[in-house]
């Protein structure tokens, strides 16, 4: 079996504008299937309408997945022997471009609908109650790998900062200019973890130092790395890949 890291295959892709153009050209060709009139009720030459229908279906799938999501259903956990070694690196850039975040002076910024907006140092975060999970990371590309992650249960952290747990979203800003957001029910899932350790060591840079969000109930790209700030909000924050067309909920 062949495995392609997200980094490699994404690096192979053309710039977004060219992609969009290619997509449009491709749609022009695929329209000859006569398929789309039935799906969308639009004219056959109208590629923009097709795009709108596909995006609308993706929003519909967000709702379907939120409905399917069981807040008490746990992702399967595995024995140490099942851990994938080496664990694949994946990002929207190559491994030599991984951001360097100095541990000293690091502060996790906390904002939005929370009571305590005081930034957190790493020692303060490490002092919170820690849990460990061995779960399967599933990439939107299809491949999967099992890893071991430790950190604070995200729900515990949200309670510590007095987050409004009835808000809709938690958003993240990362050191590599990645940004992401998740739904509150998933944020409160018992296995959703603010992760500081990978395997038996501090999270190395390529896996997201100083911290990542580990969500075994979502696809890999919904697990932001190098988190610098997080915020609780009712306004849809979007995400790096979601804004380009990947499904937002992307639950497993």
């Amino acid at each position: 079996m062949k495995r392609l890291g997200m980094a490699r295959s994404l690096a192979d892709q053309p710039a977004p504008q060219i992609e969009r153009l290619e997509r449009r050209l491709f749609l022009g060709r695929s329209l000859s299937l006569g398929a789309l009139a039935m799906l969308s009720g639009c004219t056959l030459s109208d590629g923009e309408s097709v795009q709108k229908v596909l995006w609308a279906m993706s929003r519909w799938n967000d709702r379907a997945q939120a409905w399917l999501f069981d807040p008490n259903k746990l992702a399967p956990e595995y024995p140490e022997s099942a851990i994938t070694k080496p664990f694949p690196f994946n990002a929207f850039y190559s491994q030599d471009e991984v951001p360097f975040v100095p541990a000293e002076g690091y502060r996790l910024q906390v904002g939005g609908l929370v009571r305590e907006k005081k930034p957190w140092t790493l020692p303060e975060l490490y002092a919170l109650p820690q849990t460990t999970q061995i779960t399967r990371h599933i990439c939107v590309e299809g491949w999967s790998a099992i890893g071991k992650w430790s950190g604070v249960t995200f729900r515990t952290f949200l309670e510590r900062i007095g987050a409004d747990l009835t808000a809709k979203y938690v958003g993240f800003k990362c050191a590599d200019d990645y940004y992401a957001s998740i739904d509150m029910p998933t944020a409160l899932h018992p296995q959703t973890q603010l992760t500081f350790r990978f395997g038996d060591a501090i999270l190395p840079p390529q896996y997201g130092f100083p911290m990542k969000l580990r969500i075994p109930t979502k696809l890999g790209f919904k697990n932001p790395k190098h988190i610098m700030a997080l915020f609780v909000t009712n306004d849809y924050p979007g995400g790096y890949w979601e804004d380009q067309g990947y499904n937002w909920f992307s639950g497993s």
Binding site: M1, A35, W55, S58, N61
Partner: protein, 210 residues
């Protein structure tokens, strides 16, 4: 009995009910979208040492292919549900696809390969057709179930476990696709070889064989 009277009066026999014709063509559309977008998704992380030519795929890139796949899945599943419920409730499956025996299937396949398969009465499926259509229905059902397991390996983990977990479900999904595509290719070749079957799936009727 009505069909018989109609046939005697007009020389035409009704062989494909309206529900079957509508669901057939919606299925053609849905399967085309699912397979071509699915190949693009496969290409993002190939299970085996080959990829599908991008020119044969739908969506333009992985996110586009995923949008198509997860939109068309509703069409495929809902249309399939209508077809299966109709097929069971109306007796269509029992009438057209049964009985079926391995010996009859092998016999018909042998005849077909010699180019001598009797196909005079289009209202009656021969054993090879029955086997192919049944296998196609089963393959599509397996595709839907393994697809659900890949889409929701946590929420539907019991279903995924039946296929050996997430990675097992990917293999099941791939091989069910391969079987389905093979049956469809044979089906289209047979329609080309016996072209008078083609209009019957649109109009629903064929001239009575006297």
């Amino acid at each position: 009995m009505a069909a018989v009277h109609e046939a005697q009066a007009t020389g035409w026999v009704r062989i494909h009910p309206l529900v079957v014709r509508i669901t057939h063509w919606i299925n053609v559309l849905a399967v085309l979208m699912m397979v071509t977008s699915g190949w693009r998704i496969y290409n993002a992380s190939p299970l085996f040492d080959f990829t599908f030519p991008n020119g044969l795929t739908l969506g333009g890139w992985l996110a586009g292919a995923l949008q198509w796949h997860f939109a068309a899945m509703w069409l495929l599943a809902l249309n399939g549900l209508v077809y299966v419920v109709y097929g069971i409730a109306s007796g269509h499956f029992r009438r057209k696809l049964l009985p079926i025996s391995p010996r009859a299937v092998l016999g018909d396949v042998r005849e077909a390969l010699r180019g001598k398969l009797a196909h005079d009465d289009l209202a009656v499926y021969n054993a090879a057709q029955r086997a192919a259509y049944l296998a196609l229905i089963v393959a599509l059902a397996v595709l839907v179930l393994s697809g659900l397991a890949i889409w929701k390996p946590v929420q539907l983990q019991e279903l995924a476990a039946l296929m050996g977990g997430y990675e097992g479900a990917r293999l099941v999904h791939f091989f069910a696709m391969a079987i389905m595509v093979t049956i469809v290719v044979v089906h289209v070749v047979m329609v080309i070889l016996v072209p008078r079957t083609f209009p019957t799936m649109i109009t629903g009727r064929a001239r009575r064989v006297s």
